[in-house]
Symmetry: C2
Subunit: 274 residues, 2 copies
């Protein structure tokens, strides 16, 4: 049986451990602090603490981008090990992998799953059930490596598996994840927000659910995907300004047209969780 | 037993009928087209079609703002009838009520419940279960009228009942509901949206759920609450522009501070549905 290690026992890393262990794999955990290791042992997510990554056939790296890049550049891996990261940005990670010779095989991952909380206490063996998994690949990626990753993905019970380039990932994720977290974080900054208890319904809950981002991790993510997230922000601000101007000037037909345009687009989007 | 009529059998009006009927009240329905009446009869939401509103002791008006105002101004109600509307804006409705003598009693309502779909086929006797209900009142509102409305609200199984002025309602709802619908409608206008199948998770679903607004009803709502919604839009655009500028210029500490400010506010908000 292949020896598997997971680096970084946060919500994602802890859930990878739990999901693979539940599926019958043997998984060891590697973490900066021992508290998460203790927790993962107690929960049965891992078999043991991983001491040396170079002992492992498969390594999942589940730490923020800067630490991921550092490890991919300077970590000691077993010859021929399969290494996968789970960062929310992929181009800069892939670039770090390919910038020089390396003794390991690499596939990029981005599980489209999470919660508005973080840390291993938020982890769950079921976190990935039916979630989308994005697998990034370059012209250097081997088909057999992707196939091997897909086996683990199926064991973790991911739903749809999507393959794309790191660039395509970064462009789309700027909209589907990065922009959403900025909007939510901005949404709660209204002066009115502190007086709104009882005045809220499902739409307010939806808008503000993910406002409490970890500013350190997300600053890393945004700064490593600047071009695409700025483009999405510019687009959203422009569209909001159109409504704003139509309302401020009392232009009903302009506002109605703008709302209708959004509705028609909405109707073309496949409703994932509806 | 008091005779109750509901005007407008859409998602809200239909749900009021169903909820009150389930609680043992006898409710008749009044609607422009007969199709919704037929549906409500079949579902057992109403006892009969209401022919003349002046026959009823209690009337719930569940139509868009302009039609609501027209009916409150020119409708024929029974002397002393209790009339309540459910519009998403309250100041303009209240002003129409008080602009001259009237023979009915008035209380304003705004149920904080709904779906991303509309019409009576989306109605449900359980729609209001545990939802917030905002009750608007002026210095002319009688305590006994509010008490009577609260009985119906409890029968419909609302959760928290909030009382406030129409102005306070309009200011808060600009943030908690109106802005959310604009943001969602704008969110789907990104060029990337058509290529995102498989690249989405819960945050994208949340952001885009309510994008498909009925442009006619929402144009009415926005145009009747211009000052407050423009203020919310200006605030949100400003906060988004701050992130945008920090990211574009690579200013990590500025971005991190801005994200942290949002996180700290988020942590003070009571989590309704968490």
């Amino acid at each position: 049986m292949k020896k598997i290690a997971v680096v970084g026992l946060g919500i994602i890393g802890g859930s990878i451990c739990g999901a693979l262990t539940s599926a019958g794999y043997t998984v060891d955990g590697y973490n900066r602090s021992d508290a998460a290791i203790e927790y993962a042992l107690q929960k049965g997510y891992i078999r043991a603490k991983a001491e040396r990554l170079s002992d492992y056939d498969v390594v999942f790296i589940a730490v923020p981008p800067t630490a991921t890049i550092e490890l991919l550049r300077n970590g000691e891996f077993k010859n021929g090990a399969l290494v996968a990261d789970i960062c929310g940005v992929k181009s800069v990670v892939e670039a770090a992998v390919y910038e020089r010779e390396r003794n390991y095989r690499y596939v990029g991952l981005h599980p489209m799953a999470g919660k508005e909380t973080s840390g291993i206490t938020s982890a769950s063996p079921n976190l990935f059930k039916n979630a989308n998994l994005i697998i990034t690949r370059s012209d250097k990626t081997l088909e057999t490596d992707v196939a091997e990753i897909k086996e683990y993905a199926k064991a973790m019970r991911f739903g749809k598996l999507i393959e794309c380039t790191s660039k395509e990932h970064d462009q789309k994720i700027a909209l589907t994840s990065q922009l959403a977290h900025l909007v939510s974080n901005a949404y709660v900054k209204s002066e009115q927000v502190r007086h709104c208890d009882g005045f809220t319904g499902g739409s307010f809950q939806d808008m503000t659910r993910i406002a409490g981002v970890d500013e350190n991790m997300w600053t890393e993510l945004y700064m490593r995907n600047r071009e695409y997230i700025v483009s999405e922000l510019d687009g959203l601000i422009q569209h909001l300004a159109e409504y704003r101007d139509a309302i401020a000037s009392g232009d009903e037909s302009k506002l109605s047209e703008a709302l209708k345009a959004g509705r028609l687009i909405r109707e073309t989007i496949k409703r994932g969780n509806d």
